[in-house]
């Protein structure tokens, strides 16, 4: 009699072949990892998972505006819905699962207290246009958030409403545009960006009609001051510099960059994506910055949610503050007020960036995070983030090639692909092999100034044990790459829900929505 009989309470033990290599299930299933069709393939054309009373539709007022054709939206019962999404969720990597070292993205732990606070009915169930007398606590929360952001950055003003980092960049450039316009300086049509800039910088500049001029970088990964000086001129509206920059380095000459920029009559926009490295330790206001967006979803830990929502408040200098977008918070004898229009002749605001007041749900989460840490905790955040990145850099420098070996990095460590030369393995292959080891790949091929870039940002919420596990995994991979184990990399990932995907095919003949199989009359187009 077989001992593998799994009666209740009786332990089983492994038997037979211990390797699953090449094993195939009979139905294509893969144990706990379930395949899941699209909702359109689950036969839900006549189902709903929401119990609503049948209303007598008297649509007599609407005449021929009533929708008669089928829409083609399937429904699912609640149990089917849960299974659908739980199965899908298990195909995702997440920060709660393992280190997520995407450089420049600051994938840190997302505290659940933030979620709990954002869901208090007093914050989540209030309407943006209900009387201000009924939302005094909400407006005060915005005011408190503004106070924390201004104090941490050493800047006099903040525009809260931008909805993400790129929207914040837009806010900053529109304020700069308005400030130049107000002085009649219409000839300033150029924005300077270092070659290492995030793609959103040149994209935003072009979006508001500026042309972009690139500034060169020095051998040690910083803005080339001589080149900057040469490119500044009466046609330059602003410079956009990320600090710490996208090579993970602090711009040593930042004060001089600001001075030269101001001397040329231009403004200094700082991309604050990497604020996590310096929060609580360095105030951008002390560096001569005129405008800087703060990604609440990076430094202040509002969840990335698979691609948003974010929030991108912009701190502004005295010079730019008058041009800030509406709304903003004021405080008078009757309590807090949201000023939604700028009144009077002296109006300078460049206008409104979106309906309502920005990302309130993100404000609550970010303020919860800030209050939890306090000024001492936030300083520790920056220090641990920088310490973790330098630790990774130090422990991988003998097997990989750091792009800038001299001196410390800030919150992220940048490597190039020189160490892979001749191995037959690319940065992409190496990154995909990390998936098999249980880690999300690092940011690849960015910044553009480094060949085959690998940008690793661990953040401060990683323990030393997890960092060591990550480092050992990368060291083992590096060894395998150099030992000629090319197939491990070229075929990677081997152990993910899917193998490498054909992105070229997706772009050549785009299929951007589900369509019913031919001959089926189940669904509307």
């Amino acid at each position: 009699m077989s001992s593998s009989m799994n009666t209740v309470g009786r332990p089983t033990r492994p038997e037979g072949e211990t390797s699953a290599q090449g094993f195939q299930s009979l139905t294509g299933g893969r144990g706990l990892l379930q395949d899941e069709p699209l909702i359109f393939e689950l036969d839900g054309w006549d189902k709903t998972g929401v119990d609503l009373p049948e209303a007598d539709v008297d649509a007599s007022d609407l005449g021929d505006l009533v929708r008669r054709e089928p829409i083609g939206l399937p429904g699912l019962s609640e149990p089917e819905t849960m299974r659908h999404y739980v199965r899908l969720s298990q195909k995702n990597h997440a920060i709660d699962l393992a280190l997520y070292p995407l450089g420049s993205c600051t994938m840190k732990h997302n505290p659940r207290l933030n979620e709990k606070m954002a869901r208090l009915p007093g914050f989540s169930d209030i309407h943006p246009l209900q009387p201000q007398s009924t939302v005094q606590g909400a407006i005060e929360l915005m005011d408190r958030l503004a106070h924390w952001l201004k104090t941490l950055t050493g800047m006099p003003a903040v525009a809260l409403s931008p909805k993400a980092g790129a929207h914040g960049e837009l806010c900053g450039l529109l304020a700069i545009h308005a400030a130049h316009d107000a002085r009649g300086e219409h000839a300033r049509r150029v924005v300077l960006c270092p070659t290492s800039a995030h793609g959103t910088n040149p994209a935003t500049a072009a979006f508001v009609g500026y042309s972009v001029r690139e500034i060169a970088q020095t051998q040690d990964g910083r803005v080339d001051l001589a080149d900057l000086e040469a490119k500044l001129g009466p046609d330059v509206a602003a410079i956009m510099v990320t600090n710490p920059n996208t090579c993970g380095l602090f711009e040593r000459d930042i004060v001089e960059i600001a001075r030269l920029t101001h001397e040329a009559g231009a403004y200094f926009y700082c991309d604050g994506a990497n604020f996590n490295a310096i929060v609580g330790r360095v105030r951008p206001g002390d560096l001569g910055v005129d405008a800087m967006h703060i990604n609440l979803h990076k430094t202040f830990s509002t969840p990335h949610g698979g691609g948003g929502p974010g929030a991108g408040p912009v701190v502004l200098s005295e010079a730019l503050a008058p041009y800030a977008p509406v709304p903003w918070v004021t405080h008078g004898p009757d309590g807090f007020r949201l000023e939604e229009f700028e009144q009077g002749e002296a109006a300078k605001s460049f206008g409104r960036m979106n309906a309502f007041h920005g990302q309130m749900g993100m404000y609550v989460r970010a303020l919860t995070y800030m209050m939890s840490h306090g000024s001492d905790g936030l300083k520790q955040v920056a220090e641990d983030a920088v310490l973790n990145a330098n630790y990774i850099k130090a422990r991988l420098s003998d097997v990989m090639t750091p792009a800038f070996p001299d001196g410390p990095c800030m919150h992220e460590a940048l490597f190039d692909d020189r160490w892979l030369e001749g191995a037959g393995v690319t940065t992409l292959d190496f990154a995909k092999a990390m998936i098999d080891e249980g880690f999300h790949p690092m940011t690849m091929y960015f910044p553009l100034v480094v060949h085959g870039a690998m940008l690793i940002e661990p953040t401060e919420t990683e323990s030393k044990i997890e960092l060591d596990r990550f480092i050992e995994a990368l060291r083992a991979l590096a060894e395998a790459a150099r030992a000629g184990d090319v197939e491990r990399f070229k075929g990677a990932p081997h152990l993910a829900p899917l193998r490498r995907l054909d992105e070229t095919r997706a772009a050549r003949a785009p299929r951007l929505r589900w369509t019913a199989p031919e001959g089926s009359n189940l669904a509307a187009e």
Binding site: L38, I39, T48, L52, L62, V66, E78, T81, M82, K91, H93, A94, N110, K116, M117, L120, P121, G122, D125, I126, H127, P128, Q130, P131, G137, A138, L141, A164, A166, H167, L174, G199, T200, A203, A205, G209, E251, I254, G306, G308, P325, R352, M353, A355, G358, Q359, M360, G361, T368, M371, G377, Q380, Y391, P408, T461, L498, D502, E503, A506, L512
Partner: protein, 448 residues
């Protein structure tokens, strides 16, 4: 600190592995003038209990919509969201993942986006939809810029019924990019004026339906006029539940649809985060802003999904990109996707019918108040009334009586000369008792 795993021993060991004496060694590149000793002038660390106490006190100073008879709309709507939605969006794998750049380990998010795009395309009656924008207003602004790129023209006509916040959001972006906007004077119903404003330089016409006054509009004739002039028709919808009852923009000839998707799956949140829906005709795909998710296969031929056509986007094309958008509204799109999957067409149609029925009942009740005039003849779940008194004052009076009675038009546009106009929305959450209390409160407010 509960969120920081390193111990003092860890820090010492790590510094020594790095070869640094102290943490200050790692900050040597900071200019001396900006180095700070000590902490910034803000309160120190707080435990979970203390934070919760302080924030709950702030939350307690607001009146939640669910605690009063509630009739605000004007671009944000209170609907009942099934409990499943909030549970699923808090799963770690959705909540704490990044934009799905590595498709092998992001199929969950990517399949959700593909389903979302399909739902949005079908709902709006369009051929292609993207993976979301920040909200309806920024989607509308992006649509205008896109129309200018497509037509190579620089003039946009904004209809009289376009939500003033949307008008202002469009203007902000348009003016920076030298697109001229012509905004027609706000009016409850002014289709003819829109058609007259179209000329040979017009890149696009932006029409909202139901419009800010609640008017449901057949835009077919505007579409014809726009197309005859070589312009595109952008249809804005701020209440997507309406599409469960009303003809889709696609059916009426829209080229681009920019909509606010908050109503499905997302809470009011005092105005954000919301989810912008962006859909278009297939031939315009390559001019669209934002992320697009597409179907493909993996190395073993299995179906999978990836972000695609990224040569339109900022991270590849930089200053030649169609937009600067990067992070969008992923998790809100997931909430939309789940709620819509629960509803299905059957549930959505019922929900829409209920909304219309509630609003009609509210309209009938208010129309009976002496001095109150209903201005909107054809509406979905929101309509405008003219009061014999200032509407903002009436709203304050009603609030004092515990009724949140709607949005005064002057809150959106103080210069329109419509200070006596009140916008009233009624969704499925409005009860008969709520309607009675609104009626009594408004009766009192207009006689004061």
């Amino acid at each position: 600190m509960r969120y920081l795993p390193l111990t003092a021993d860890d820090r010492r060991a790590m510094l020594s592995a790095i070869g640094a004496r102290s943490i200050d060694d790692l900050f040597v590149d900071v200019p001396a003038s900006a180095r700070r000793t000590g902490t910034v002038d803000l309160p120190g660390f707080m435990g979970e209990l203390e934070v919760e106490r302080e924030l709950s006190a702030l939350a307690g100073r607001n009146i939640p919509a669910g605690s009063a008879p509630f009739f605000c709309g004007a671009g944000a709507y209170r609907h009942h969201v099934p409990a499943t939605v909030d549970h699923v969006i808090q799963r770690s794998e959705f909540l704490t993942s990044y934009t799905p750049y590595q498709p092998e380990i992001a199929q969950g998010t990517l399949q959700v986006l593909f389903e979302f795009q399909t739902q949005v395309a079908r709902l709006t009656g369009m051929e292609v939809a993207n993976a979301s924008m920040y909200d309806g207003s920024t989607a509308a602004a992006e649509a205008v810029l896109m129309a200018a790129r497509v037509t190579r023209r620089n003039r946009a006509v904004l209809s009289p019924g376009l939500h003033p916040h949307y008008v202002h959001s469009v203007e902000t972006l348009a003016h920076a990019t030298s697109i001229a906007t012509e905004r027609l004077t706000p009016a409850v119903d002014a289709e003819a004026a829109v058609i007259e404003a179209i000329d040979a330089d017009t890149a696009c016409v932006v029409v909202q339906t139901p419009n800010v006054f609640g008017t449901a509009t057949d835009v077919t004739r505007i579409a014809e006029a726009a197309h005859a002039a070589g312009a595109l028709l952008i249809v804005v919808t701020a209440e997507v539940v309406s599409l469960g009852l009303l003809k889709s923009p696609g059916e009426m000839g829209a080229d681009i649809v920019a909509a606010e998707g908050q109503s499905i799956g997302n809470a009011l949140n005092f105005g954000g985060p919301y989810v912008g829906l962006f859909a278009a005709k297939e031939k315009l795909t390559r001019q669209m802003p934002g992320r697009l998710c597409g179907e493909t296969v993996d190395a073993e031929g299995r179906r999978g999904f990836v972000l695609t056509l990224s040569t339109r986007e900022q991270h590849i094309r930089r200053d030649k990109a169609t937009s600067n958008i990067c992070t969008n509204s992923g998790l809100c799109a997931l909430a939309f996707n789940i709620h819509m999957s629960l509803l299905g067409e059957k549930g959505l149609r019922r929900l829409a019918a209920l909304n219309h029925a509630r609003a009609r009942r509210t309209r009938d009740a208010l129309a009976a108040i002496p001095g109150v005039e209903v201005l909107t003849p054809r509406f979905f779940n929101e309509f405008a009334v003219r009061l014999p008194v200032d509407a903002a004052r009436a709203v304050e009076t009603m609030a004092a009586d515990g009724v949140i009675g709607g949005v005064p038009f002057s809150r959106l546009d103080p210069e329109a000369g419509l200070d006596d106009v009140l916008l009233v929305a009624a969704t499925e959450v409005v009860s008969d008792d709520d309607i009675i209390r609104l009626t009594e409160a408004l009766k009192k407010a207009v006689t004061q």
